[in-house]
Symmetry: C2
Subunit: 409 residues, 2 copies
């Protein structure tokens, strides 16, 4: 008899955003006239840059003529896109063409990367964090069962709270894979160059690999905050980086991201020999993936023109102005807030130590605003709440008015 992958049964039945959707739908059905403002899910709302629109129209037209038609492309992505990425994001950082793998999005890459590690690898994740890192490892059998404290057995959790300024401490016992998300989803905070250096040093000393998700790098506004892990000395030996066009250029519905794996990042084989991870990812990418849409890649490459860079800057600027409005609005309302300076996420401490799902209900019922309970991102997210800057200006302003005028706590 065919057997199911039992590891899936370890995962909690309800997914965070499904549960949010269920509660909002219920509220809506009982309050049909309620004017709900959604600042919950981290999805963009503004049109993508005009350069991308133009490039995609041109690419669609190429598909309509045999002379310019594009069939299967290289699974790793077209050189026109890879070269533009290197030129714009990795100049002088020592990244080569065959170290970049274009994909249909960072979520896929973050979820799939664990496949090239041995099943008995020990993982560390920050808490709270984007759930894909953990869930994909649960599915692959790298964890034990879910414990009553909300943690999976066998996983090293690295708490990130206001108490440690959202800078995780090094793990007490060594780990093989370390997921760092910076700028962080959900806390909206970043790690300084010296904090990251501490992690790179740890990884090199312990032969660990850092899986660095910088999907929100475009939102860094302060000078000195690293956008790439490869700005840190020694990272070329121990770090894999994930980047995305989703938030940079509004590509959540168009799907494009990429993974950087320097050929100098190595692991041990069973005989103890050091071997690079890059050829394994290349093998995975060519065997289980068939390249990103040509049209999408043409659209993505367009952001690296001078005009594209200026349009991206303006798009990111729009959302970051929302972030400022939310941050200052919440502060005026008397709430304690974090993030929102180098990231489109604002992380607030719930008032009066409310549970984060209770605060969700309060916000929804009292001021008709949908946010995301911190507990949904991990046990250490309890007592926190996430709002996103991805709404439109009007709704963002209205949401802050409601919180300042009508929310009682």
């Amino acid at each position: 008899m065919a057997k199911l992958n039992e590891n899936y049964s370890k995962l909690p039945a309800t997914y965070l955003f499904t549960e949010i959707g269920r509660r909002v739908a219920k509220f809506k059905s009982e309050n049909s006239s309620a004017d709900i403002i959604r600042l919950g899910i981290g999805d963009v709302t503004q049109p993508i840059p005009q350069v991308c629109i133009d490039a995609m129209h041109a690419a669609v037209d190429e598909m309509s003529r045999a002379e310019t038609f594009h069939g299967y492309g290289p699974e790793q992505g077209y050189d026109f896109l890879i070269d533009a990425i290197i030129r714009s994001n990795y100049a002088g950082l020592g990244i080569e063409r065959d170290e970049i793998f274009v994909s249909d999005g960072s979520k896929c890459d973050c979820g799939n990367i664990q496949e090239i590690f041995s099943t008995d690898s020990k993982i560390a994740i920050t808490d709270p964090v984007y759930p894909v890192y953990l869930d994909s490892n649960v599915m692959a059998g790298r964890t034990g069962d879910l414990q009553s404290d909300g943690h999976f057995a066998g996983v090293t959790y690295l708490p990130c709270t206001a108490e440690n300024n959202f800078a995780p401490e090094l793990p007490k016992s060594r780990v093989d894979m370390i997921y760092l998300c910076c700028p962080n989803n959900p806390t909206g905070t970043t790690l300084s160059k010296s904090e990251l250096q501490k992690w790179v040093n740890y990884a090199r000393e312990n032969e660990s690999i850092i899986l660095f998700d910088s999907a929100y790098a475009a939102y860094i506004t302060e000078a000195g905050v690293p956008k790439s892990i490869y700005e840190i000395d020694g990272a070329l030996d121990c770090a894999i980086e994930f980047r995305s066009f989703s938030k940079t250029a509004g590509f959540t519905g168009i799907r494009c991201g990429y993974t950087v794996i320097p050929k100098t990042v190595c692991g041990r084989d069973r005989d103890g020999n050091l071997k690079p991870f890059n050829p394994l990812w290349n093998r995975r990418h060519t065997t289980k993936f068939n390249g990103t849409s040509y049209i999408t890649q043409k659209g993505a490459a367009a952001i690296y023109t001078p005009e594209g860079q200026s349009q991206v800057k303006s798009l990111v600027g729009y959302y970051m102005e929302n972030a400022r409005i939310i941050r200052e609005g919440l502060q005026k309302a008397g709430l304690e807030v974090y993030g929102g300076i180098n990231a489109p996420y604002i992380w607030l401490k719930t008032p009066n130590q409310m549970k984060s799902w209770d605060f969700f209900n309060k916000l929804l019922t009292e001021v008709k605003i949908v946010g995301t309970p911190g507990a949904g991102f991990g046990a250490c997210g309890e007592g926190y709440f996430r709002l996103t800057a991805f709404g439109d200006r009007q709704n963002t302003l209205r949401a802050m008015e409601r919180i300042q005028n009508d929310l009682r706590f």
Copy 2:
């Protein structure tokens, strides 16, 4: 120290199409004026249907305005596409909306599906066959090492040769997962309704799951040949089906496919309880995938309009006329050929029992035609050779002239 997934090292170093590319490049460098005709890789060459072009232009425009912008879509695909798929391909077959999962291509789905099965599942694959089924299971550790006969230990191979009319026999000892590719890549042959019934009966008696890849269903021209496994009695209990827009509508560079998992397809959990695979795939799809590009899905849905169906028919007809030209051309040249009637692949027996790589070299050097050695698809493909009907008409005709006039054997 971080450890690599050792299973990857079991895979042969060179991938079939990489090796073909290497040999062609070498020949080209030594014979720079050679006029090479490529009938090797199974990639389309003709423009996609105009309805898709129009729909994708409209979708790109939607992305340029906030009011019509689309961010994250449902990971499972938009209902407009799912409903069109059901209406056109599964009417009366009992498939429901939540049993269809749209993806960025069948290769990904065929490669990923094994994740929802337990690691100790026994797999059966036809030989020769599309390499992704086997390779993805090797990577996941469901096989032993590669043996000297070209087979992996622990895998049940089902030979498909001219001797058994390319209809595999049932396995002698029971298996959990059975990969069937029909119409078959590379042999271009199909299985009759009664042959498929035999497999469904086997699967139900043995609680096995059939993984049915019908990416080439649109190329079936003969009446009575099933396009879907769900045309077979009992298949709703034991079969998962993969379909693709790649060959149907020329989407190899645009990326869209889908997987059908009826909720009645079950496996055993560790306590022996029957549980459906559908929620596991849904969990995988929502955790490690973020939906197919909205633009792509709009393009795909367009083929289900009456105009779209007529354009697809004409596109498929173009390639199938190539298939006829190749089949009859090879027969005239005195070769023994199979396939090419319900599939865009022509599978020929090499003359004088030549090794398939030797025939590759002969064809390349004597008549400058690139094809694919049968041995690249499995040990039982030795002594066979694949040509594809995806070239343009002119080149297909010229290739047959060369084979008839200039190839000596």
